[in-house]
């Protein structure tokens, strides 16, 4: 019987092997013999029918707990393996148990021997062999040593953390094994990614800290405003109030929430909203030729706000407040029910003049105009142009022509026709101009 010079494997109370730092279990095989057939063999024991655990660092052999065994748990460190023999498939190997051989040297200095791993139990032998090769080549213990040596310097004298049982390994790090080990590897990867991201976001953090300062400043101003508005004592505070209003407006325009909430000061909220809206409306109004549909403003305004959306009701209220302020825009409702925002300077007369001019052109005399034609001339949206045409119609300037060709408008000839002499066409005027423009009447 050979001696047992293999390093032992410490077991926990539950029979689990205590692993080395960073050691991860990779493969389990049951019913495994480890034996050395060399002669002489002074040091490698004959280990029969045990549990073989392949780790990143070692081959662990544990005796089968169900079977009384004289052998104890032993380990073969992968570093002590000098060679793994390729698996030769022969006729013999088909019928016999699967086995693999490797050459191993002891720590003590005795001669190296060839050890055979005989696998009698079930298990994916080929996978085991592949992993065995991988781990042996991987030399994971060398990295562990590096880590261990560097961290042990830092942890020198940090206490006698037992290298045995417990979740803390000797260098103070939490020992993770098996699946946890894999998870830990993932964790490390994430941490390194995180670090690089952090570097990238340095500027953003700086920005954020500035923003925090801004918010604090705004907060201070807010408190000041609130305390000021609460103590509305005398009218000599008018100047103060003025600048306070300015401050409020500034805050609003920067996009910071208005100091007063809707609940606490309903009217003030609408006032502020009203002013803000008046400012906002300027650009879209210009772009749409001085008149714009209220629904369009509702969409544009809310889109610009992003959050803190206003309800249609708020919008209406805000618009109706314009009468009280000196703003150059008004809300207007057409007969058809369409509501628009237009410049105060907007003159219906001007529009009508333009329409009249358009509709007296020879083409228009012959075929009339459509809302799109008017839209082009007036520089407004077709829907708006139609409203203008309808109000010109109601003023008696135009007449409508409804046909399968569509909805068109003509200059109103009816007033020009003499009811007592329907054949009469004077020399001057709209009627004769019209008659001249129509080829069929020529």
């Amino acid at each position: 019987m050979a001696g047992n010079s293999l390093p032992p494997v410490n077991l926990t109370d539950n029979g689990r092997p205590v692993l080395l730092p960073n050691e991860i279990e990779c493969f389990f095989l049951s019913g495994v013999d480890l034996l050395c057939e060399d002669e002489p063999n002074s040091w490698f024991p004959h280990l029969k029918s045990g549990l073989l655990i392949l780790t990143t660092h070692r081959l662990l052999w544990l005796p089968d707990t169900a079977v009384a065994s004289s052998s104890s748990a032993s380990a073969v460190h992968l570093s002590s393996i000098s060679h793994i023999f390729p698996n030769k498939k022969s006729l013999k190997s088909v019928f016999a148990s699967r086995r693999i051989r490797f050459q191993v040297s002891p720590e003590t200095g005795s001669r190296s021997v060839v050890v055979t791993v005989v696998v009698r139990g079930k298990g994916d032998f080929d996978a085991f062999v592949a992993k065995f090769w991988e781990n042996w080549r991987g030399r994971a213990w060398e990295e562990s040593e590096k880590v261990a040596s560097s961290s042990s310097n830092a942890v020198a004298g940090a206490g006698s953390a037992s290298s045995g049982s417990g979740i803390y390994s000797s260098d103070g790090t939490v020992r993770m094994v098996g699946v946890s080990g894999i998870l830990r590897k993932e964790q490390e990867m994430w941490e390194s990614t995180d670090k690089s991201l952090q570097d990238a976001f340095q500027d953003l953090n700086a920005l954020m800290s500035k923003a925090k300062e801004m918010v604090m400043l705004a907060e201070k101003m807010r408190l000041k405003l609130l305390s000021g508005s609460n103590s509305q004592t005398n009218t000599t505070n008018d100047e103060e109030m003025g600048s306070k209003e300015e401050m409020q407006e500034l805050l609003l325009s920067v996009g910071i929430i208005s100091p007063v909430t809707k609940e606490s000061a309903g009217a003030l909220y609408h006032q502020q909203l009203s002013r803000q809206l008046a400012d906002f409306v300027k650009v879209p109004l210009e772009r749409s030729g001085g008149i714009i549909n209220l629904i369009d403003i509702y969409c544009l305004f809310n889109r610009a706000r992003g959050t803190e959306l206003i309800s249609p009701d708020d919008l209406l209220q805000a618009c109706s407040l314009w009468e009280k302020f000196d703003v150059p825009i008004v809300l207007r409702k057409f007969d058809s029910g369409v509501m628009v925002i237009q410049n105060k300077s907007h003159s219906d007369e001007e529009v009508f003049t333009k329409i009249k001019a358009l509709v007296m052109k020879p083409d228009a005399l012959r075929a009339g105009i459509s809302p799109s034609d008017a839209a082009r001339t007036l520089g407004v949206a077709p829907a708006m142009a139609k409203e203008h045409l309808l109000s010109a119609e109601s003023k008696g300037i135009l007449c409508r022509d409804v046909s399968p060709d569509g909805f068109r408008f003509y200059i109103n000839l009816f007033p020009e026709i003499d009811r007592d002499d329907v054949y009469l066409v004077k020399d001057q005027g709209i009627y004769p101009s019209w008659v001249r423009a129509i080829p069929a009447l020529g």
Binding site: G368, E393, S394, G396, C399, R400, D401, V402, S403, R408, Y410, N412, L413, F414, P415, I417, R419, V422, Y423, V425, Y431, W434, V435, I438, A440, L441
Partner: protein
């Protein structure tokens, strides 16, 4: 100048909005006025006495401008004529309209004038002769609508200017004037 049969069409007949019932009150009033005149004049020239809404009426369509009056418009204009006493609905459903381009009173006057012109002050004449006889040729009475004639006769009968008597058949109906 465009014509529809014998009728001279005014220029505004080719004005497309003329064929769309106008919504604006003042404009619509003028439009209705013009249509009333047009209908009466047309019917007078063409000697038409009845307009059936469901049938094609040449005046209500302009083939040049490709516009046609909607039923709503036709009814609106004819109703305006009825309100003015220049037309009458012949049925409750307003599908047929009797056009009085001469009022009944005017027709009565024309009849009396006809009687005078033809020395019939105490004479007798058949309906048929009035409507299609040689004496009436060239006068407005020629081809007059039966309904209208009867109404005029009735009016004159009430005034005692004549007596209507029936013959052996409808064609033999006659009038004895007593102007």
């Amino acid at each position: 100048m465009q014509k529809l049969g014998e009728f001279k069409l005014p220029h505004f007949f080719n004005y497309p909005p003329y064929f769309t019932l106008q919504p604006v009150r003042d404009t619509r009033e003028k439009q209705i006025q013009l249509w009333k005149e047009l209908i009466l004049d047309y019917c007078k020239i063409q000697k038409l006495f009845v307009i059936a809404l469901e049938e094609e009426f040449p005046l209500f369509t302009n083939t040049v401008t490709e516009r046609s009056l909607t039923n709503e418009a036709r009814e609106a204009f004819l109703s305006a004529l009825v309100s003015e006493g220049r037309a009458e609905w012949m049925d409750k459903g307003h599908r047929k309209c009797l056009i009085l381009w001469h009022r009944i009173q005017d027709w009565a006057d024309i009849l009396l004038q006809f009687a005078k012109d033809n020395g019939l002050e105490d004479g007798v004449v058949t309906i048929e002769e009035i409507r299609f006889g040689t004496e009436s040729q060239g006068t407005e009475l020629h081809g007059i609508d039966r309904t209208i004639l009867n109404r005029a006769l009735k009016l004159l009968e009430q005034k005692g200017k004549l007596v209507v008597f029936k013959g052996t058949s409808t064609d033999d109906e006659g009038i004895k004037f007593s102007v």
